[in-house]
Amino acid sequence: MRVGKYLTTILMAAALLMLSGLDLQAAKTVKIGVIMPLSGQLSLDGTHEANGVKMAVEDINAQGGIKVGGEAYKIELLVYDDQGIPKESVAAMEKLVTRDGVKMVIGAYTSSSTLAVMPIAQREKVVICSPNSAAEKLTQVGNKWFFRGGVTSPGAVRTITAFIKSLGIKSVVHLAINDDYGRNTAALNKAAQEKIGVKVLAQEYYDHGTTDFYSVLTKIKGMKPEAIFQVMETKAASIYVRQTKEIVPELPLVDAGGVDPYMLLKLTPDAVAKWQIVSRGPALDNPKVLPVVKRYREKYNMDPMSYVFSGYDVMSIFRIAMEKAGTVTDTEKIREAMTKTNYQGMMGHYYFDKNNENSLDVWVGSYKGGKVNLWLLKK
């Protein structure tokens, strides 16, 4: 009986010691949040971007994780669907930072959504980077916790304006998506185009989800511009471009960088002859991206949109910042390290200025020969 009690105590003590030993060996993880539209009108782009981040996380974890302070932290990715609606992005952000305790967030997708969640990042001292939101405003509101991971609207504008000049176009009508990105991009491009003497005859806007462009195209036809300049994303463009063939088949259509040229070709091969490509991402056979392209094709059975590369690059930048800062929890240090980013990614060379703005550029191109041709404009 006394032996029995001793034995039980010793056994329990041994068990406790073993359990605490097991605890020490459990894998350390760091949670990273992702806010992307996975359903709704922007699900295509959002899913690709989230997949890019996932791919990078797979690669980092396969190498052991984020190496900080002698420990390796595996990344636990928490992906939330905001449906492209700012209200939902805010809800997702609040969940990520307060309930899930996340210190770094990749997102959102639309500039409107990113703008909505940025104040939360500042309040909670969380580092946030959007791989693609392009509106100028994002880096001008003085929020030091936000970093822009995709080509900016002003950056793209310079190249696009030079492109339009090289095409010899003297008058345009703008057709832009009616949100922060669309309005901002259209305004910036208008100013730049007018500066080089291109007449902007009108600016028309359409809402997300519009499928019927016949009325506005008929209207534009009446204005007789030399070209149409459209600020739209791929889903709308693929529907729109067929309608242009019907109503204004003779007009060149200049993109603002929101459309994936490969997807457009795949969906409407017979209607893209007049499309002047402006691509935020490199050609799919560019050696810098070819490995990821091949893996993506194998895994998802489709070509990656440039958002995949952006998502991958931003996750890579996060990892470098955490490793350089030597911490996965001290966000002040991580933020400091982010400002010193000097990274050659798939999408270009990433470094940030005092407003956490990058200097990425866009590619221009054409569909000559029935395929996608991209090149960097010489300025």
């Binding site: 699900s43 499928t211 008929t218 209207k219």
Partner: protein
């Protein structure tokens, strides 16, 4: 001035597609008292069905359209059997919520099964462009109007002349009275859902070559259908036809002469004006 007629024609073209989807919606509401917000997803399923039939069986566009309509009508029968019939005693508002749930389920199931990637349907009608008095219109768009008119006429004749159609009208007017008169209410329910879903499928299949097929394509159309049905009078076939065409025209004219971004605003102004003058809708029964 002639540009006005082009805009009007564009409006009637889009209006015809609205009518097709609104007709199914209003029949289901008028006869079954179900506001089916998943109707947009039925439309989407019709489009996908046509896409897959064209891809896998390589038949012509019209055979695919008809086959789709039959398959989706079958889906309607299935929905009645497993969802709406067991829940027929549930209050209207709860049925509305259930239909929203069904809509979310179908949309996400489609996204899961077929990815958010858009699918393109090629038909010979897309490449044939006609020039009628300065209006350039592809045969596909003209087809929406032509098929739309044929379907509208067919539905009207059906509910006026055929026994089952008359039975449907009777049930929409007075359920209990119809039952007393010996009408098989359950049969009418099945037929209504089959026709309603079949119409949605035809609408989806007709516009799919123009608008591309993807899982969320039904979200906006069902919303428009709801507006049209309120505008025209809930449960009224004539109301759906007039309402659909009117909405298409108003949207197009406001997009052309004012702003594309505001076209929904004008559609709503139209709705408010009509409800102000006739609260039950143009052809609706007045609310006592």
């Amino acid at each position: 001035m002639e540009v006005f007629f082009i805009h009007l024609a564009n409006g009637l073209a889009i209006g015809s597609s609205y009518v097709l989807i609104a007709l199914g919606f209003t029949l289901i509401f008028g006869i079954l008292d179900i506001i089916n917000l998943a109707h947009g997803e039925i439309y989407m399923l019709g489009a996908y069905c046509t896409y897959f039939i064209l891809e896998l069986l390589g038949v012509g566009f019209f055979p695919a359209l008809i086959l789709s309509a039959l398959i989706i009508a079958g889906v309607g029968l299935l929905l009645e059997r497993i969802l709406f019939y067991p829940l027929r005693e549930v209050p209207l508002l709860n049925l509305l919520l259930i239909s929203i749930g069904l809509s979310i389920f179908l949309q996400n199931a489609a996204t899961l099964l077929w990815t958010p990637e858009q699918r393109a349907i090629q038909t010979p009608y897309l490449t044939h462009t006609l020039n009628i008095f300065g209006l350039a219109i592809t045969m596909q768009r003209l087809l929406i109007v032509v098929v739309g008119v044929i379907v509208m006429v067919a539905v009207v004749i059906f509910i006026q002349r055929f026994r089952i159609g008359k039975a449907m009208r009777a049930v929409s007017q007075d359920k209990i009275g119809s039952a007393v008169a010996g009408i098989n209410i359950n049969m009418v329910r099945y037929v209504t859902l089959a026709i309603g879903c079949g119409l949605a499928s035809v609408a989806g299949s007709l516009v799919a070559p123009i608008y591309l097929v993807e899982p969320t394509m039904g979200a906006t159309p069902v919303f428009k259908a709801f507006v049209i049905v309120i505008l025209g009078g809930m449960g009224s076939v004539a109301g759906s036809i007039v309402g659909g065409l009117l909405l298409g025209v108003v949207e197009n004219l406001s997009a052309a002469y004012i702003s594309l971004a505001l076209k929904d605003t004008f559609a709503f102004i139209l709705l408010v004006l009509i409800l102000w003058v006739r609260p039950a809708g143009i052809f609706g029964k007045s609310l006592e």
